[in-house]
């Protein structure tokens, strides 16, 4: 059952990220003072310690920074999923995030490859941002 996989636990900090994702936008926090775009989600800017921030829509485009393929089942809900890809994506706006590159065989995802975000709806509230190979 897909719902047994770990899902985000929505709280004050991360709800805007997941609501934006459900609406089809990859959004991250931008510092209200130094304008650093940060990820992972935090209440404070790690550059300037400002606690003022807004959510900014990103292009959803990036480059594969590193790519690995899970063959070992570490979580029972992933038993039917292996082998699957996990990649760190370098987003064009600066942050990096853990995600999956889908739409290609998991071992064929190459470091340096251009990718674009897609949203994978897993329930009424959550759509998980993943990435597909892109041309540019």
């Amino acid at each position: 059952m897909a719902s047994e996989k770990p899902l985000p636990e929505l709280g004050e900090l991360n709800t805007p990220f997941w609501h934006a994702a459900r609406a089809g936008t990859l959004a991250m926090q931008e510092c209200g003072d130094c304008h650093h775009i940060r990820y992972p989600i935090s209440h404070v800017c790690p550059k300037c310690l400002s606690e003022t921030y807004g959510w900014t829509a990103l292009s959803g485009r990036g480059t594969v920074f590193s790519s690995i393929v899970f063959h070992q089942v570490y979580h029972p809900a992933y038993k039917g999923e292996v082998p699957y890809n996990v990649s760190i994506v370098q987003l064009d706006e600066g942050p990096r995030m853990v995600s999956n590159v889908v739409g290609v065989p998991p071992s064929e995802v190459a470091v340096g490859q251009r990718v674009a975000v897609v949203f994978d709806p897993v329930n009424d509230e959550i759509a998980i941002p993943r990435f597909r190979p892109a041309d540019d």
Partner: protein
């Protein structure tokens, strides 16, 4: 020379049996190791006034481990505490103990670790992450972090899986000469390549063991060490480094804090990589050894793959690494046995696997989501 250089000695080391030890707990294994370390150095339990501990991965008391350990061993210390830095803990605790002795807070410090991770369950399969767990994207387990590093190193520098295999083969060959090692059957590069995939690019034989066991290391001041049973092994240099951000720092995968820790240790000791005769490099995965070699300056950036070829890091090679078998083949004591082997090499007590004439040993540790690193340079008094 820095303030602490050669002022603190490791005088006693002890380890329990290692491997799958049903019926053991982190406390029983730590107790065995503690008794053996006392016997090794000749100190009496009543003389131990510093107790620094690392909770086992399944120890329910967590950071209160120092209380359980003190109660178990019957020690009311002058100085104590617990620390949880995964594979970075042993080195960090030893460095803390060294400072406590140098500052007069304690006279003889025992650093103790016991773990029943093999039979008692462990945390090594958990997902990392922050506000949102990486498990949302299926990224679980310690292997993933080092696999990320291997994938990028391979892409940038052409490092190959066979080169990673050289590390596994070297560690196993060394373990075959170590009666205490858990995995002693020699392996080949072909065995490495044929072992099943865990997290690509890692095969099974790129991954360390999971083990039950205990280890204890006893420290005292260099002057006092002369009166004890063993030839003292002095800490010439030590250093730590941390990258607390992971995704937030572009070079996190390359563990830049390993270089910080090594630079600090070399600077304190007034030594450099050319002075190192033998190295015990933290090997949770084969890739980690390659990164240590580059950070220590044994080879250049991106050159560790070719460096480990041709038996260079095996006994008899230019730089023997993990001479007892390491986390990969001796036992996964999260780096504590790397210290023990470093001490034994500096005592000249390693028998068949002794590096002849070795005078300087580098010992490193690293833990958590690649975040914590430390290094020590040991030499005989």
């Amino acid at each position: 020379m820095a303030f602490l250089t050669d002022r603190i000695a490791i005088v006693g080391v002890g380890a329990s049996e290692q491997g799958r030890l049903p019926g053991s707990t982190s406390l029983t294994l730590a107790t065995t190791a503690f008794k053996r370390a006392l016997d090794d150095c000749g100190l009496d339990k009543s003389e131990i006034d510093g107790l620094l501990t690392m909770p086992g991965s399944a120890s329910p008391e967590g950071s209160l481990n120092y209380l359980r350990m003190g109660e178990t061993l019957g020690i009311d210390p002058a100085y104590t505490g617990s620390m949880t830095m995964g594979g970075g803990t042993a080195g960090a605790l030893i460095q803390m103990g060294a400072m406590a002795i140098a500052c007069g807070l304690a006279t003889n410090v025992a650093c103790v670790f016991g773990d029943a991770a093999k039979t008692g369950g462990s945390r090594f399969s958990r997902a990392s992450g922050g506000t949102d767990s990486w498990g949302i994207w299926g990224m679980f387990a310690a292997a993933a972090n080092s696999a990320v590093a291997a994938s990028r190193h391979m892409a940038l520098y052409g490092t190959t899986s066979r080169q990673l295999g050289e590390v596994a083969v070297a560690c196993r060959r060394h373990a075959s000469m170590n009666p205490s090692a858990v995995m002693r059957e020699p392996i080949t590069i072909e065995d490495h390549q044929a072992s099943r995939m865990i997290v690509e690019p890692f095969h099974l034989l790129d991954c360390c063991l999971i083990s039950d066991g205990g280890v204890c290391v006893i420290l005292t001041a260099a002057e006092r060490a002369k009166d004890l049973k063993q030839r003292p092994v002095l800490i010439a240099g030590m250093g730590q480094g941390y990258t607390t951000q992971n995704l937030g720092r572009e070079d996190w995968w390359y563990v830049p804090h390993q270089k910080d820790a090594l630079d600090r240790a070399f600077a304190m000791a007034g030594l450099g990589p050319k002075d190192v005769d033998v190295a015990q490099l933290y090997d949770n995965f084969t890739m980690s050894v390659l990164l240590w070699l580059e950070h220590a300056g044994f080879c250049g950036l991106g050159e560790a793959g070719p460096f480990v070829e041709g038996g260079r890091i095996q006994l008899g090679g230019e730089l023997p690494v993990n001479t007892a078998g390491g986390n990969l083949s001796e036992s996964y004591m999260e780096g504590w046995l790397h210290v023990v082997e470093g001490v034994r090499q500096m005592r000249g007590a390693c028998g068949e696997r002794q590096v002849e004439g070795a005078e300087v040993c580098l010992v490193t540790g690293r833990g958590m989501t690649l975040n914590c690193a430390n290094a020590m340079l040991l030499h005989p008094a």
